[in-house]
């Protein structure tokens, strides 16, 4: 009698490929980003983000100051330069693991935290490091999500 119907399937190797629209990560020379003129970026109107009214968001039971339980966040300073990406599609923790994998490959990134309630990815940068909005957008897309907007904290 076959006890476990999917015993054979358990032995199968499933390869999760990137979405068809994703691009492979390319080596990035961060030193060339220092003089980047954000006003030249097309398609992303940062002036619309400056007036973001967080008070209209339902924060019941949700504290932005509280970090999710994650040992990698323990070493992150409260003054760490932080990029906050508002993202669509963040409904599944298992799928969101791709974000951590993708962003941790970046030299400038110390760690990230994901807020499924708010649909936000907080990217904590290493001291003295920077990460362009364009690069963040590319990494979000590579992870399989859609970027809605980006804000910066602590001088990131």
């Amino acid at each position: 009698m076959t006890i476990f119907k999917t015993l054979g399937a358990v032995a199968a190797l499933t390869v999760f490929a990137q979405p068809a629209f994703a691009q492979d990560a390319l080596p990035m020379d961060h030193s060339k980003m220092e003089a980047m003129d954000h006003s030249q970026m097309k398609g992303m109107d940062h002036s619309q983000m400056e007036g973001m009214d967080h008070s209209k968001m339902d924060h019941s039971g949700h504290d932005h100051a509280a970090k999710p339980t994650d040992n990698s966040l323990a070493a992150v300073s409260e003054d760490a330069q932080t990029i906050v990406a508002k993202v669509n599609g963040l409904v599944c923790d298992f799928c969101a693991q791709a974000l951590k994998k993708v962003f941790k490959k970046e030299d400038a990134v110390e760690t990230i935290s994901v807020d499924l309630d708010a649909g936000e990815v907080r990217i904590f940068l290493k001291d003295g490091q920077s990460l362009s909005d364009k690069r963040v957008a590319k990494l979000i897309r590579k992870s399989g999500y859609s970027l809605v907007g980006i804000t910066h904290e602590n001088g990131a």
């Binding site: 076959t2 006890i3 476990f4 119907k5 999917t6 015993l7 054979g8 399937a9 358990v10 032995a11 199968a12 190797l13 499933t14 390869v15 999760f16 490929a17 990137q18 979405p19 068809a20 999710p68 339980t69 994650d70 993202v87 669509n88 599609g89 409904v91 599944c92 923790d93 298992f94 799928c95 969101a96 693991q97 791709a98 935290s113 994901v114 807020d115 499924l116 309630d117 649909g119 399989g144 999500y145 859609s146 809605v148």
Partner: protein
Amino acid sequence: MTFTGLQYNRLLKRFNGPSSQANIYAKIGVGQADPFGSEGAELSGFTEFAADWETRRWFTEYRVRATDFADNKSVHHSVRLGVAPYIGDYGDLHTWLMVDVQNHPDGDTPITTTPLIRFFKGVQMVELGYTVEENEWLANWIVRF
């Protein structure tokens, strides 16, 4: 029939909403059917298309699969519905209660129902279920890397 092999999943299209996500997948499997059976190993494979839509609370999925297992060729359809009894935060242990209904037109039991429970935490997922009509347990373990 037991199938053992390699499976390739390709995400064809994803639709990201503020509080939902929908996906369309293509899957291909190649391996051996009934490798330990009396007939010996037979080269076999399958092709599947799947579409799902989910929120933090609800999960729905439809799958259609064409299989070629030696002398057994068939097409079958499946629907899976799920609900999260609680909404966990990132990094928590997440739990889903699901029911999977499959239609195998050529099978001895054309309609099978499998209630199952799915857990995932971090990069690991485990699901345990029981197919009522076939009196069989289901167990899957997936690790993302």
